[in-house]
Symmetry: C2
Subunit: 284 residues, 2 copies
């Protein structure tokens, strides 16, 4: 029997916990944690994502600061907005919505965000802190995956975890976080030969490839934990990187799409914003 | 037949190349690249390592700056020395010899080294640049391993590389560098179950565990490339993490101990110091 991992439920619990903690922070420190979202251009999907994040932030009782820039904003204009938010002591966290319009250097802009406000965990400093195993803000999606595994009581130490996909946003930080927890970790990707023979070794299989339905029963060891980070709009509805129907009765645990990893990303963004607010120096 | 990888030869070639390039830099820019070594305390092994590095630096025509601090130097005293070298425009690179005497926070001291002078590639920023796949100075030992593999023409893309050991100095950056080159990468370590069944999958096996003779023929696929980063003084002479005799006629390529990876570490330190000198702003 395959058990579905209920990401919605865990995300709801985290969001409720964050809301309680925000209320306590406001009470005890007289200070409202706040997230600043920066949206450049008019990509409709980005607008939807940013709106969802802002709504979740407000729902948790946090401050919602927003800066919208036109599609042709220059590197210097975006940089100036980030610098202003970096200096603003009322802003706990800064999120620069990706992807940016062509012509902007995303890496350079991200690196203007101070590590203490880097709620997406994407700056060079945050990546370095993770690589060194030091405290810091972690990217939301892999942090959400780890939270789901912990909530389900999946043992990580000594488990063989296979991460398919080596993106900077998910695959690579995911691998580092699993290694930090003493899993044996394999990273596979588009250049991997005989993918199925690699993924079939996984006790824990995390799939983040951006290829709809890439992974089926042939790729999965019976009883394995399968985490599907993909989400794709198809004629048949939302679909992940995993052919979920094939895995029913084959995988041990499986995250559904939707309702698995997706809701966790926003929940972890809220948790990161709270953590950033708590670490910042008090105003006096 | 097993071919031994001649690290001494490759290291010698790199050192000769660095010496030529140093001479050219002095001629064209009127500037001598220089390495500053910082040695705290009186650990005899550390003293030997630092002496070897300084001698190689001088031999390459580079400037040799050295700071020795007593065993009971405080955190602030070591920090002040690093800060002074960080500001000194005649110093291209800074190497803080590890391990430090107990009581000192090595991570915090390393992070005082500016990324542009971080010839050991160990600062948070350098680790983050590597994690993000951006240009930067890389840790010398894994960089040396990669150079040996390239010199031998070992294909990396799509190869299955297994790294045994997940230290911050070698294993973790090694895994990241192999991933960067599109290998499928597995990191195994002391918590890995059934180690031999993991390592036997490797086309390229890099062993950096600190356990003498851990890896034998049972751990190695016939024809695999085996890189032994370990070096241990035993009653029978210097030995690596690999039982080299067992692998003769079994591995395809093998780095000997001594004379394999060891000489490459210093060669890459010289190359990093040259690179740091070239990237630093000209004096005018």
């Amino acid at each position: 029997m395959t058990t579905l991992i209920d990401g919605k439920k865990t995300a709801r619990e985290i969001r409720a916990w964050v809301a309680d903690e925000v209320a306590r922070t406001v009470r005890e420190r007289g200070r409202v944690p706040a997230l600043a979202t920066v949206l450049v251009g008019d990509d409709p999907a980005s607008a939807v994502y940013v709106a969802a994040k802002r709504s979740a932030i407000r729902e948790a009782g946090m401050g919602d600061v927003h800066r919208a820039l036109p599609p042709h904003a220059s590197q210097a204009e975006v940089a100036a907005v980030i610098d202003e938010l970096a200096q603003d002591r009322d802003v706990s966290g800064i999120l620069l919505q990706l992807p940016l319009p062509g012509g902007l250097d995303a890496g350079a802009l991200i690196d203007r965000i101070p590590a203490g406000k880097d709620v997406d965990g994407l700056t060079t400093t945050s990546a370095g802190l993770l690589a060194r195993g030091a405290d810091g803000l972690r990217p939301c999606t892999p942090a959400g995956v780890l939270k789901l595994l912990d909530t389900e009581g999946v043992p990580l130490r000594g488990a063989h975890a296979v991460v398919v996909g080596h993106s900077e946003l998910v695959g690579r930080p995911m691998a580092r976080m699993l290694l930090q927890r003493d899993a044996t970790v394999t990273v596979a990707h588009r250049h991997t030969l005989r993918l199925a023979s690699v993924t079939r070794q996984a006790d824990i299989l995390v799939v983040a490839t951006g290829v709809p339905g890439l992974i089926g029963a042939d790729h999965v060891k019976p009883g394995a934990v399968v985490v599907d980070v993909g989400i794709h709009r198809t004629p048949g509805g939302l679909q992940g990187d995993v052919r979920a129907r094939e895995l029913d009765g084959h995988a041990g645990l499986l995250t559904p799409v939707p309702g698995g990893v997706g809701p966790m990303t926003i929940a972890m963004l809220l948790a990161n914003t709270l953590a950033a607010a708590r670490q910042s120096p008090s105003r006096s």
